[in-house]
Assembly symmetry: C2
């Protein structure tokens, strides 16, 4: 038997494997990790056996320092507890596994200050890519953040921002505007003529795009958007604003569009609590197609937003060495009509 050289503590190192197999460090490295160089079959077997026996797994940190580049993609999101971001992360992680990358995740809690701090921290990982899934407000990108991002880019990190990016930046967008436009058009076609929109805070890109798209589609179809209210993008905000709307008086047959399903869910509850019937009395539509859409009221009409696909693509964009925006085909958003917006006669 071979001598006792079991790694007293800690994991087996490449050195251990080489010794156990009776080969040089270099040879062991070549067989265990991808190298173009060839190594004799007999050696290969011995090394593999030794690695297996010792339970060797390459130390990724050491590999990263040696190679000068890591197999890490950092994901920064506004709120990982949010369903949509969860699905986004799901797509990112799926892509990462395929591509052999590791995903690190951080959460800004929608706080720009924290975002900046986190991006700084992330730089330490020397990630190959950074996916910025943060709710962006128009023109709110601080210079400091931009500096960080260009610094990141300078060290070879592919920064991909979700939504519209600056020119020259890798970016990929969900298609909020187009999806909402299709929704507006469809609802106009269904016979709705009066709509009210409950959106997120003014300036929030995703919200603004959805509002703009919906209004365009609905107007083109012959409808009129009577009002746009701004609030938080939450269920409670939807509920609260809807109650205000009801207090102000809301004509029967009016359609309320909430910029997200969560908002729409709040709206539906507000209507119900006020004794109005969703769908027959007042119509409601949302955006996202969260899992419980079918179970809200008579079923919530919405737009299916493929956040997982978005995440998957973002990862590809973060990982590929060359990437061109133009090659991207738009994601497929699908209008899903349910009971909350039945066809209107008339």
């Amino acid at each position: 038997m071979s001598e006792t050289h079991a790694p007293a503590r800690g994991a087996a190192t490449l050195h251990d494997v080489a010794r156990e197999a009776g080969v040089s460090l270099a040879t062991a490295s070549r067989v265990l990790n991808g190298s173009t160089r060839k190594v004799a079959e007999s050696y290969r077997e011995r090394v593999d056996a030794a690695a297996e026996k010792l339970g060797y797994t390459a130390n990724l940190s050491a590999q990263a320092t040696a190679r000068g580049t890591s197999a890490i993609v950092a994901l920064l999101v506004a709120d990982i507890g949010d369903v949509s971001f969860g699905r986004l992360a799901s797509g990112v992680v799926r892509g990462a596994e395929e591509a052999g990358f590791i995903v690190t995740i951080a959460d800004t809690g929608r706080d720009p200050e924290r975002e900046l701090r986190l991006v700084r921290t992330l730089r330490g990982q020397r990630p190959r890519g950074l996916i910025l899934g943060v709710a962006r407000k128009a023109g709110s990108d601080s210079a400091a953040l931009q500096n960080e991002l260009t610094a990141l880019a300078a060290m070879g990190c592919h920064v991909v921002v979700l939504g519209e990016g600056e020119p020259g930046q890798r970016s990929i967008s969900l298609g909020n505007r187009g999806g909402a436009e299709a929704l507006g058009a469809e609802l106009a076609e269904l016979g709705y003529r009066q709509a009210v929109v409950i959106g997120g805070p003014e300036g929030l890109r995703a919200s603004d795009d959805r509002i703009g798209g919906f209004t365009a589609g609905f107007t083109d179809g012959g409808g009129t958007t009577a009002a746009v209210r701004h609030g938080a993008t939450t269920r409670d905000a939807g509920y609260a604003v809807a109650r205000e709307l009801l207090a102000d008086g809301l004509a029967e047959g009016t359609l309320i569009f909430g910029v997200s399903d969560l908002v729409a869910a709040g709206i539906a509850s507000a209507l119900r609590d006020a004794g109005r019937q969703v769908g027959v009395d007042i119509a409601v539509a949302g955006f996202d197609d969260i899992p419980t859409c079918r179970d809200i009221g008579p079923g919530l009409t919405t737009v299916r937003a493929p956040f997982d696909d978005l995440g998957y693509r973002a990862l590809r964009a973060a990982v590929e060495s060359d990437w061109q925006h133009d090659a991207e085909v738009p994601l497929a958003l699908e209008v899903v009509v349910r009971g909350s917006t039945p066809r209107r006669d008339g």
Copy 2:
């Protein structure tokens, strides 16, 4: 002025900073990264200035190799797209930021084979902790996985499993059983006497615990659990099984408990589609308290499960050097009664 030694490409290194500040590597290291050693104020200032000027950020990989230990916690979940796991991740990430750790995430897709592969991969990171948020089936832990875990533990990685762990393992559980028991008791108190349970696949710990807890609490309160049906833990499964139940005939005043809110949401829709009225005709209760609970039917009675707290605690358990199970106080699960289970007279 100092010479031109701008790092041609890539990030500034500690070496660069030291040279720019005109001090030694060691000194630069001491001021920039935590060291107990003191360094003169004048030097400290110069180093800080140089670091700032060069935009220095420590290379974490290099730090990890040098220190022999990383500041990484790996999170392995069954499905990050699931709301509950999203909230879990949220808590983990929050704790990690506090503790100065980085979180890497991977997704098993509920596939044991993939789980094993991923744990192997994760070993490469030499993480300080590993959080296993995977849906566990009783007795399904393969020997191979156990081996991996002990290997991990041997290299100093704190493995913390969510749910009931093996003795000697760090584990922390949500309290499914207790929560469900409280729910059962509360519903019995509200006057319900007949219940049917729609659970997940047989053997799934979380599901079994909830079923067992509910039955115990309900029975103790004077109720009877007429039947337990097993299926997937999904909305569609809830819907399908509920339809079967209806086809078989369901007495008015019966209560249906779905082991998760998603299942319960499906149940509620099945009832509605069959012309039954949730709450007045048949009662429904769930578990988790997902965001749209209030907007499903007349509001879904459920148990608020603090997944984010669970995640936060899991991170603490993964990070702390010594940790004892006994010190953990149970998480606070709260029964939330809503319209889907009004008080029954009689």
